[in-house]
């Protein structure tokens, strides 16, 4: 059988979904204003959940190539988020969804943008929640949760999101 010798393996070495998520995360940094106290030092994205190492690799790759407002991008990855350290974005992977409520409570007013990927997560305190609509990655945006977290959101974001109140 004259199959391409590269076949599907080479294609699979590239993780489409991780790249897509990385682009989304970078974009979110454009649409929010963080508190003054968080405008110095590295821009930190903390990913909660360790099962998607392709994503961590992609984010680290992004961190080595882009900056956020002239600041270095730093990726942190762990299974939990115990200490309320200054984190600009907390991205809770699906596997860690049971922690959403707890983490969102801990980070009220701390200036952390909480991003999740679980249906109904905005009701648990998430400001941005990834959803799939017709095989396409989209996101829900809950402005109230963003405000509670201490962030100012651009009005443009509302037009790009599936709005949830």
């Amino acid at each position: 059988m004259a199959l391409s010798s590269q076949s599907f393996h080479q294609a699979q070495n590239f993780d489409i979904n991780s790249k897509r998520t990385a682009i989304f995360l970078y974009n979110f940094t454009r649409y929010f204003e963080w508190p003054k106290s968080m405008k110095t030092g590295n821009f930190i994205i903390h990913v909660v959940g360790t099962q998607n190492q392709n994503l961590i690799q992609e984010l680290n790759k992004m961190a080595s190539t882009v900056e956020i407002d002239g600041r270095k991008l730093e990726i942190v990855n762990s299974n939990n988020l115990v200490e309320p350290n200054p984190v600009h974005i907390i991205y809770i992977l699906k596997e860690s969804s049971p922690l959403i409520k707890e983490i969102s409570k801990k980070y009220i007013g701390k200036g952390s943008l909480l991003i999740t990927e679980k249906m109904g997560a905005t009701k648990l305190g998430s400001a941005i929640n990834f959803v799939v609509v017709n095989n396409k990655q989209q996101f829900e945006f809950n402005k109230n949760n963003a405000t509670k977290a201490g962030l100012k959101a651009s009005s443009e974001l509302t037009g790009l999101a599936v709005v949830v109140n």
């Binding site: 004259a2 076949s7 599907f8 682009i23 989304f24």
Partner: protein
């Protein structure tokens, strides 16, 4: 992979026959023609060529079908003596072919019809094998296809009812596979990708169930979609990202039926299962992606 399998078997028969023909040529009274024939019989083809080239200009022998046949043999054998399919010497074969056709035209009594036909068949075999060599060694798809089509045309002239279905499948499947590899190796080069796609579609036009063509086309469309995402910069804005997603989505959906067709025909074909898993991951369809992941794992466990 394309098989360079058209042998010289028929040519050997042809040459035995033509040796007799050369030896008994009724026009041997011409000095130059006589010398050329003699050199051919002694297998000194390179020496025969300049002489036979004069013979075909001589008013006495230029309208002699035998002169042109001998010329065809000399050029053909000269090419064959190189010992490999050398594209740079293809003019020898082209001359052999044109000489054979002139001989056929002049051979009003059809005395040489059979021997000329055998010669045409042998020359067609050279073009076929060259088309294969050009693909595998030089990756020259344009010239390769040109020679393949020439082989087909010549074969059709000899046998108008010849069924090219299998040969076409073999050729275009091979062309598609080689250029799909290149497409991926050369950083998803679109030019190579288009050659691969066009060739594989030709295979499916002949046999819609061809497994390798279906899989390779599925891989091709998947990779096209993946490439859109791969080439997107991290700073791509959300509006643009939406468009990239839309276009990639179309391509992933285009890939799906090719892989599904193979999976339905052969549920144990692991490349199709892997392909479908990848496609559904890209389509963010967790349920289906998981279904094919389980199938893949079960199959690997059995092996």
């Amino acid at each position: 992979m394309l098989n360079s399998s058209i042998s010289y078997y028929s040519l050997k028969n042809c040459l035995c026959f033509l040796s007799l023909l050369i030896g008994s040529n009724q026009f041997a009274q011409n000095g130059l023609l006589d010398s050329a024939q003699k050199l051919c019989l002694e297998k000194k083809y390179d020496l025969a060529i300049p002489i036979i080239d004069k013979v075909i200009l001589d008013p006495e022998t230029k309208l002699n079908a035998g002169s042109w046949s001998i010329r065809a043999i000399a050029y053909f054998q000269s090419y064959k003596s190189i010992g490999k399919y050398d594209v740079s010497k293809i003019s020898l074969i082209d001359t052999a072919l044109s000489s054979t056709y002139i001989s056929m035209k002049l051979d009003i009594t059809n005395d040489r019809l059979e021997s000329n036909k055998i010669l045409v068949k042998s020359i067609a075999g050279v073009y076929y094998n060259l088309s294969s060599v050009l693909l595998k060694d030089s990756l020259n798809s344009v010239l390769s296809e040109k020679y393949y089509l020439r082989y087909k045309k010549m074969t059709t002239q000899l046998n108008p009812s010849f069924d090219f279905k299998e040969k076409d499948i073999e050729y275009y499947r091979s062309l598609g596979s080689i250029f799909l590899d290149l497409y991926m190796q050369k950083n998803f080069n679109q030019e190579f990708g288009e050659i691969a796609k066009t060739s594989l579609i030709k295979v499916l036009d002949i046999n819609p169930k061809d497994i390798s063509a279906n899989i390779n086309l599925g891989v091709f469309y998947y990779n096209q979609g993946a490439t859109l995402m791969r080439l997107s910069d991290y700073t791509t804005d959300l509006v643009q990202l939406g468009l990239v997603q839309d276009n990639a989505l179309k391509l992933f959906k285009q890939a799906e039926p090719f892989m599904l067709r193979v999976h339905v025909a052969d549920p144990k074909e692991i490349t199709a299962i892997e392909g479908l898993e990848g496609i559904y991951v890209a389509l963010l369809d967790e349920v289906k992606a998981n279904e094919f992941k389980i199938k893949k794992e079960a199959l690997i466990k059995k092996q």
